[in-house]
Symmetry: C2
Subunit: 201 residues, 2 copies
């Protein structure tokens, strides 16, 4: 236990900052000091933004997204393609896809992936609700936008099995060379996938 070098209020701030992802004990101290120095422009507004977030953010009961409304802004957006559901592991993946603007559809956040190692079983994921939503009239395609990891692909297979009785089109993201990627730095699996799925030029 290191000696407390500042008052209890500052020590508590440092301790809580140190539990944020990406900040350790040392960087938490540096962050606390920077925040205190920028009290008016950063510390007070951030405290308020966090309070508002803590009070008002809810998990969408339909898709698992986080928002200040339930159903979330995306589920409530009637301009989105109602025939597709994009299945993602986590809200961060939903955000990444929204930033790309690649698809104007609704999402379904599983809340993780199956993992024998971490003891994550199907009942821990938001799969039952996905099957319900997929069975709603009008849904024709399920896009599995899961990470190209072993656990992600295992989950994709499990979800596919769960949805099979509905007779929907189930697709997954293409594998290939990332845009801007250099072949020299890519693994063999990606290169093999890119060759196999080559397209006409």
């Amino acid at each position: 236990m290191p000696q407390a070098v500042a008052g209890p209020e500052i020590e508590r701030l440092i301790q809580l900052l140190g539990r944020m992802p990406g900040l350790g004990p040392r960087s938490a101290r540096r962050a606390a000091l920077q925040l205190i120095k920028k009290r008016e422009t950063l510390l007070a507004p951030l405290a308020e933004a966090m309070r508002v977030a803590a009070e008002r953010i809810v998990v969408c009961r339909s898709c698992g997204n986080v928002d200040t409304r339930d159903p979330c802004t995306i589920c409530a957006d009637h301009s989105r393609d109602p025939t597709m559901l994009v299945v993602v592991e986590d809200v961060s993946d939903l955000w990444a896809l929204e930033r790309s603007g690649a698809v104007k559809a609704r999402y379904h956040v599983l809340g993780g992936v199956l993992s024998a190692l971490d003891g994550v079983r199907p009942e821990h994921l938001n799969i039952a609700r996905l099957v319900e939503r997929a069975a709603e009239p009008g849904v024709g395609e399920i896009i599995l936008a899961l990470n190209a990891t072993v656990d992600g692909q295992t989950t994709a297979h499990y979800v596919t099995e769960s949805l099979k009785p509905l007779g929907l089109t189930i697709t997954r993201l293409a594998h290939g060379v990332p845009v801007g990627g250099e072949l020299d730095y890519l693994d063999e699996g990606t290169l093999t996938a890119a060759i196999r799925s080559r397209t006409a030029f």
Copy 2:
């Protein structure tokens, strides 16, 4: 300007988090999501700790430390050696020395170092107040605990000149091999200093 992918409350949280030291736009999003997931255990307490800090923390008018009281806990601590003042660049250096427990004295935070490049001149630093404090009866030694950088050493020389009329003992931190340090990884300046200041074994 990337597309807003979440509600305005979440976007604002991400934007403010991204201005924290050590967090960029991408890690701010990850941090925001982690905070939202740990709403009860981290987000709400952190918001409250930040609010308290923003409201109650003041800069000690005597030494420049940050605390919820003025004079700060260290200046008000009568068990500390009243004959010494430890001069540091920043509050983070004060904290580092306090953690080490190396000295039980009071501090003086300059609030930076002289820098021709950054346009930091003596009047921008807390030097006038240092001269006042050093002139108080009972003070016998000023320890310059400034960083061993060019600007730090320039500042040390300037402070020494400013304090010279008072006829106090002025000392600086020893240069040498860091405890646990390997010679192979040290620069020539440090090794030369360590050889010059060698001590009997």
